[in-house]
Amino acid sequence: MTPRNTGRRTTRAVDARHAAGVIDLYERGHIDLNDALARISGVNDGTSSVTPPMDKRRIHELLRDLDDLVGLDEVKRVVREIFALVYVQRLRQEHRLKADPTVLHMIFYGNPGTGKTTVARILARMFHECGLLEKGHLVEVERADLVGEYIGHTAQKTREQIQKALGGVLFIDEAYSLARGGEKDFGREAIDCLVKAMEDHKHELIVILAGYEREMRWFLSTNPGLPSRFPIQIRFPDYGVDQLVQIAKKILASREYRMTAEAEWALRSLLQQALREPRLDPFSNARFVRNLVERAIRRQAVRLFDEARPKRDALMLIEARDWQGDEAR
């Protein structure tokens, strides 16, 4: 067959390999047909949407990840609320109803080890599944990553971090330290740069500020413009002894270990003692437990090292003496 040109000028040919990739995306439901055709033809009609459809099954899986976290009932409730809102707004958009853009910048109050970063990571993935964030990754930064040492250095450093976080969540741990240095501190510059980026990249970035409650309240009071930009505020309470034991059991189970009843009792009294004793720094909650577990696992290894051929059961078992003398923080 010889195709004849009907006298009409042909335009740039379609790139078959690029088209195959686009069609694949379409078939998997990541883009809609308008978008697929626009990408193949290279014509953007301006109405094509780039937001992928929501996969409710994935969202449920992520909610299950959230439910798996020990305690945090209030946090779980707020997160579900946010997601119901985001989900319904997306459905409204699909039905061409008014859907006000939701401001999703947040503040997490809580002591170390209360699950702030873990929840932030789950949130980032969930926003990605809802089509709000293109990548859904989490960039975790602190003062040193944002604040520079000379004039102009701070803006550059902050912008770099923001660029890295575009399409995901920028998680600023101990955010109050940005305002700590007083009027002439470069931390202020980082805050201004951040606020500007939140405006410029409204649809590409979600910022989460995290820190101890008292310090964060002070931080917000130093900059009156800040609280209104972070409408979602979530409080992460300290864990009780029961919850900490549960966390220890989970960590052990995930690494294929378990503890004897005596070991559990020993751990419980160790935790009670740790919670009672006066300290300068706040109690590090789940992180404290994680360190305890790490140490217990090392002690168990040392204990078994001297045995000729330890049984499978012995290899899994953490005994009371493995916790003993532990001073992990």
Binding site: M1, R4, T10, A13, D45
Partner: protein, 204 residues
């Protein structure tokens, strides 16, 4: 690679146009190959009257696989065959039915691979949209035009010319797509298919 792919939005009348073209080419018995979305292939043979009854429907998304009609075309002393691919109709928005989505993906693949494109447009629908002062041309059609133009052979069938407001739709199409060849057709009455036939002959 297929010779001609017939594309258009869902319910534009692509399958009817294919069958009408086969009829215009004097074919009584249709031989067509069905490529299902699961990769399976079937060869079917049916008298054209039966085919009309079985293959066409008033509901969108009735074609859910690629149907390749092999049409023998007499050219001088030798007879050659042209493969005409009838594709699944395209509909925008989020298609939740995975089978329909795969069928549309198959259409896109055939569209990218084909040398020639017959783009079936519902002219009556365009006319009606103009009556209602709505946007006459759909974004999907706009993009099909852009892809069609990259091909060596591109023909627009302004279909359903037998329906009210269709004339107005054809006028509008002619103004809008100045450098494309537009043939007003009616797959129902057969109007315009002699001209389409002449173009398909050129491909043989």
């Amino acid at each position: 690679m297929s010779d001609v792919v017939v594309v258009g939005r869902a319910n534009a009348g692509k399958t009817s146009a294919c069958l009408r073209l086969a009829r215009a080419l004097g074919i009584e018995e249709l031989v067509w190959m069905v490529e299902r979305t699961d990769g399976g292939r079937e060869r079917r043979r049916l008298p054209i009257r039966e085919a009309e009854r079985w293959l066409t429907s008033g509901d969108p998304h009735s074609t859910r696989s690629l149907q390749t009609l092999t049409i023998p075309v007499a050219r001088g002393k030798v007879s050659r065959a042209v493969d005409i691919v009838d594709s699944a109709g395209l509909a925008d928005g989020h298609v939740r039915d995975e089978v329909v989505r795969r069928a549309m993906g198959q259409t896109l693949r055939a569209l990218v691979a084909a040398k020639a494109v017959l783009h079936v447009v519902d002219a009556a629908d365009i006319g009606r949209s103009m009556e209602r002062r709505e946007a006459p041309f759909h974004a999907l059609d706009e993009q099909l035009v852009a892809i069609g133009r990259t091909k060596a052979f591109y023909l627009v069938l302004a279909n359903k010319i037998d329906l009210p407001f269709a004339e107005r739709g054809v006028e509008w199409l002619r103004g809008r797509l100045r450098d494309a060849r537009i043939i007003p057709t009616s797959a129902k009455t057969g109007v315009g298919f002699d001209e389409v036939k002449r173009y398909v002959w050129k491909l043989a």
